[in-house]
Every structure is written in C-alpha cells, then in structure tokens.
C-alpha cells in the first residue's frame, strides 16, 4: 500500500475531524436559525463519534517516519479523552452566548482538537512544535470570539501575545537541543550519551523549552494570561483551554521529559540538587502551588477562581511528572483526565448561571440551591472533587499523585527525597479548601437577594453537567474504571524499561554514583 494512504489510514480520526470541520463550515453558510444550529452540532458530534470509532477500530501500533506519528495504546487513550472533552465543549457552545458565526466556532473547536490529537500522537520535536501551534492558533481565535465584548478581545490579545512569545521560546529551546544533540526524534534523544547533557547550551535549551510548555499548562511564572483568558473568553472556549489542551500538553511534556530527556533529569532532592529538568520542574511546581492557591483566595469571580485553581492543579500534576516512572505517568494521566472532566463540569455550571443571571461573579451563584438544586449539587461535587475530599475522584487522583512522587526517590540514604515538595503541596491543598468552600457557601448557604428566576427548561448543557458529576462520583468510588485502561496503556510505554536498565547499571557502580552526588 502506498505510504500516503497508509498514513491516512492511521490518521483517519484526525482526517475525519478535518472533513467534519470543512463540512460544518459549508453547512454554516445556510441561513442561521435555531434549528440549523442543532444541525451543525449534530454534524460535529457525528463526525467526532466516527473519529472515536475509527480510533478504536484500528488497534495496530504504528510508528511513522521515525516517531513523527505514533499510535499505541497510550496515545489512543489520550486521543479518545481529548475527543470526548472537545465534543462536550461543542455541546456547551450550542447553549452559550456564541450566536454569530456558530459554524465557524464549531469548526475551530474541531481544528484545535486535531492539533491536540496530533500533539498526543507524536514523538518528534518538530511535530511537537507544529501540533502545539495547530492547537494554539484556533484557541486564540476562540478566546476572542465575542466581537462586541471588550473583555473577550483583551483576553484574546493577551493570550495571543504571551502565546507567541512562549512559542518563540519553545522553538529556540528545541533548536538548542537539536543543535547540541543533532536529533529531533525523542527515541534518538534518549540514546544521546549523558555527557552531552552537561553542556550549558543544552541546559539553556531545556529551560527555554520548559518555559514554552509552562505557558501551555499555565504554571507559575508563565501563568499571567490564565485568569484574564478564563474570565474574558466565551465559557466553552475557556473550558476547552482548561481541559483538552491541558491533557494534551501534559502528555507531551511527560513524553519529552521522561522519554527524550530521561537521562537529563538531574535531581530535585532537597540538599542534593543536580542540574537538569527535575530541579526546574520542582521550582515551577512549588511556585505554581503557592501562587495559584494564595491568589485564588482574593478572587470574586468564579471563573477567575477556577483559573487560579487551574494554576495550582498544574503544580500538583508537575509534581507527578517529577516521579518520571510508570506510576508517576499513570497518576498524572489519571489526575489530568479527572481534572479536565471536573473543570469542564464547573465551566458548564458557570455557563448556565451566566445564561440565567448574566454573570459568573460569586453573588450570581447565591441561592442556586433553591432555583436549581440539581445544578447546585453538581457544583458541589466538582468543587469538593477539586479540593480533593473523598469519596470523589479528585481525592483518589491527588493521593495517587502524591504517593507516586514520594515513592519515586528512595529515601533510605537519609535524605527526604521529594518530601519538601509534598509538604508544600499538602499544606497549600488545605488552603485551597477555603476558596472552593467559599464558592459552595454562595451556592448553598447565602440566600439569593434577587427575584427567583422562572425555572428554565432542561438544556443539553445541564444534562451533560449532570453526567460529568456522576462520572466524577463513579471514578471516585471505582477508580479502576479509568485507572485500569491507563495502567494497561502505560505498560506499553517501552521507554521506562530502558531507563530502569540504565539506573540498574549505574547502581552497579555505587562509588561513582556517590562521587557525583557529593
């Protein structure tokens, strides 16, 4: 078979999404009415479901062009998660304030989804950059979609400018890595002799690349765009930025660091730090957890609270990445997917409240349990899961994440391993409980001062929010529902085996190891 056609076969989900987007664009040229919006949405969902079916239908593991396009159980799982998150966003969009150019809005969601799926399925620096741009550019447009809202325009401009600068940083960092090692494929990078990783130029490249990714996952100090974008963007756009884009970003960051740069980690152990990406990641994670949680305390807009909470949650997930082993990767994947579902649900509640009460300030949520008890209950589930209280999925995710990070470094040599980071994380997790409960206080305790609005008919958004809440609850009680597929997928990630072997050989010469530690 011709290699082009073979590639098309394995990129069928992405191709189908692209076709759907083009079809939606043409279908959107018909005069827009309420029913035509539903037609467009059904087209999008149909395309998305077909793409999902394709994803499950081709179970082959392939590796095209030396890692440019990779399909294995791990990427398939993440692609499926991204697809589901994007489709939920599309449904949210149908009930949102986006009225003008609705077809283009759906098409842009699909285009961005294609970028995220390609990002999840690549192991090459060049493709990582291209896919990242494919994801980001539609997201910039989606952020500024409300033409007449100045907040939306401001958010889009900030997102675009910061995104552009960080893309430049990322590209420059990747080019330095390429310049020193001479390869762009992660599988080649993993084979580079460790002496290369001491090159200051290479370390500069790693730090620059991490700045670029830090922007993508909204980690401190690259987080300043997040609150404005979450607040100003149309709610479905913000939901997509907070969910799908984050899942893809974390998978690729994990791949780059634990696969390509596995030997360049250094050490983030307190008192025995060594240059590499681990100490950088440790500092970013600690800063994100501290700044995110403290800044969220003084917010009065629920979307801004969600933004700062997203920054803090990014810090927790970076902590999981620092484990750099199979347990760490599974815990990060579990947590990021659960987090994406939760935050998507919270944004769904915000969207409904905005529709009914004209805003998402804290006082708009007052007395929600009277006017919409179901919605209030869902918001309660999401907030408590984000705070990490059992029996919801957020608790289990956080527990697994922290346990993975703690267990990754042997603590027998008298040092504390990553314990210093965990102490920060757990202490500030207690702080985060305050602002999550403040939201719930407005929802459940403070009675509404406004006239009770007439009960609105059940919307698709409301149904989905309910389903998401049920999913969070179910995943908290049976984490295996999601964890078993993740475990099975991560088991096939072969690169950790190579790393374990490398550690075993270095452990065979304990004297040289001690020499480098001191």
């Amino acid at each position: 078979m011709n290699s082009t056609l073979l590639l098309l076969k394995f990129l069928a989900p992405e191709s189908i999404l692209a076709d759907t987007a083009l079809l939606v664009l043409i279908a959107g040229l018909v005069k827009s009415t309420a029913s035509s919006r539903n037609v467009l949405l059904s087209l999008t969902l149909l395309g998305g479901l077909t793409a999902g079916a394709c994803l499950l239908y081709f179970p082959d593991n392939v590796n095209f062009f030396h890692g440019m396009v990779v399909l294995d159980p791990l990427t398939r799982l993440v692609k499926l998660a991204i697809l589901i998150l994007s489709l939920v966003t599309a449904v949210f969009a149908a009930g949102s304030s986006v009225r003008e150019h609705f077809a283009e809005y759906l098409a842009l969601i699909l285009f961005s989804t294609i970028g995220m799926m390609l990002l999840a399925g690549t192991e090459d620096l060049l493709m990582i950059f291209i896919a990242l741009e494919m994801t980001s550019i539609p997201l910039y447009i989606l952020t500024g979609y409300l033409k007449k809202s100045s907040a939306s325009a401001e958010a889009a401009l900030k997102y675009f400018l910061v995104g552009g600068v960080s893309a430049a940083f990322l590209l420059f960092g990747l080019s330095l890595i390429y310049g020193v090692t001479g390869c762009t494929a992660l599988q080649d990078l993993a084979k580079v002799p460790p002496a290369t990783f001491r090159d200051p130029l290479f370390l500069a490249g790693v730090v620059m690349a991490m700045a670029g990714f830090g922007f993508k996952v909204a980690a401190v100090p690259f987080h300043l765009w997040a609150p404005d974008v979450y607040e100003g963007a149309p709610t479905p756009s913000a939901a997509l930025i907070a969910s799908g884009s984050k899942v893809a970003g974390f998978l690729i960051l994990a791949k780059l660091l634990t696969y390509g740069l596995a030997k360049a980690g250094g050490s983030a152990v307190w008192g025995a730090m060594q240059p590499g990406w681990l100490p950088v990641l440790g500092l970013i994670a600690a800063a994100s957890i501290i700044v995110g949680n403290l800044a969220a305390l003084s917010q009065s807009n629920v979307k801004r609270i969600l933004a700062y909470s997203a920054i803090a949650q990014s810090g927790y997930m970076l902590l999981g990445l620092m484990a750099a082993d199979k347990t760490g990767l599974s815990s990060v994947l579990f947590y990021v997917i659960v987090y994406a579902l939760t935050t998507l649900g919270a944004f769904g509640v915000c969207a409904i409240v905005e529709q009914r009460r004209g805003g998402s300030q804290l006082h708009h949520f007052e007395g929600l349990h009277q006017s919409a008890p179901g919605l209030a209950l869902c918001m309660g589930v999401f907030m408590i899961s984000l705070a990490g209280i059992p029996p919801l999925a957020g608790f289990f995710g956080k527990f697994y994440l922290f346990a993975g990070a703690l267990g990754s470094v042997a603590t027998k040599d008298g040092h504390m391993g990553l314990l210093w980071l965990l102490i920060i994380a757990i202490a500030f997790n207690a702080v985060s409980l305050y602002y999550y409960l403040i939201v719930l206080k407005h929802v459940f305790v403070i009675p509404s001062s406004a006239e009770p609005a007439p009960r609105s008919p059940r919307s698709a958004t409301g149904t989905l929010v309910g389903l998401l809440a049920i999913a969070i609850f179910a995943l908290g009680i049976y984490p295996g529902l999601l964890l078993d597929p993740i475990h099975n997928a991560v088991k096939t990630a072969t690169w950790f085996a190579a790393k374990a072997a490398a550690i075993a050989t270095s452990a065979a010469q304990p004297k040289t190891l001690q020499g480098t530690t001191k």
């Binding site: 011709n2 082009t4 056609l5 083009l22 664009l25 043409i26 040229l29």
Partner: protein, 123 residues
C-alpha cells in the same frame, strides 16, 4: 578552524570597505569639486517609488485587510500548484493526483466560504 575564521574576518573587512570607498569618494567630490546647484528634480528621490502625499496615519477600511489576506492566501497557494503543473500531469501517480484534487477542493471551498461570507464585496 582558525584559518576559516581569518578568511571570514577578511571578507567582513572587505565587505565594509567596499561600499564605504565610493561613498567617501562621492562625498569628497561633492564637497570640494562640484558646484552646489540644488533643484526640484535633483532633490527628488531617485528610483525609490513616488513621493508620498500627506501623512500616513489616516483611517482606512478594515475591510481592506480581509481582502488583502484572502488575496495573499490564494496567491501563495498558486505557488504550490506550480510543481504539479510542471510535472506535466503525465508522471503523476493516482494517489498524488487525488492529493492535488483534495488540495484544489480545499481552495474551492475556501473561496466559496469567503464569497458567501461577503469578504469579496467592497462595501
């Protein structure tokens, strides 16, 4: 290694001196030998376009950008079509031909879309 850089330095020096010498000669000529007779034609910009009229900071339609962007996109796409045409359509395999057709279809769709959205109308 050092030899290569020596050549490069030499090249840099020549590259700087080469344009400076005629400029210096022209200046010396103008300073000491030629009579000063400024005129309208003599002062005008030579082979650098026409002289500008009025300030550049005026309002113009934002529609111009849309128009220019669409033009730019289609202009660049033409370049991509050129290699296909240059191959004479004879040596092209069936998958490549299909790929060209898909590409053309995308162009047609974007044109139809832009037309229907009113981008091509000058209001």
């Amino acid at each position: 290694m050092s030899h290569d850089y020596l050549l490069l330095t030499l090249f840099l020096a020549i590259a700087i001196v080469f344009p400076l010498v005629p400029l210096a000669l022209a200046w010396l000529w103008a300073r000491f030998l030629s009579p000063s007779k400024p005129g309208k034609d003599k002062q005008s910009i030579y082979e650098c376009g026409i002289e500008s009229k009025g300030p550049a900071r005026i309002q113009f339609q934002a529609h111009y950008y849309l128009y220019a962007l669409v033009f730019l996109v289609f202009d660049v796409e033409t370049v991509f079509l050129l290699p296909f045409a240059a191959m004479g359509f004879v040596k092209i395999s069936v998958p490549s031909f299909l790929a060209i057709m898909v590409f053309l279809l995308l162009l047609v769709e974007s044109l139809v879309w832009a037309w229907a959205k009113g981008v091509l109308e000058w209001k």
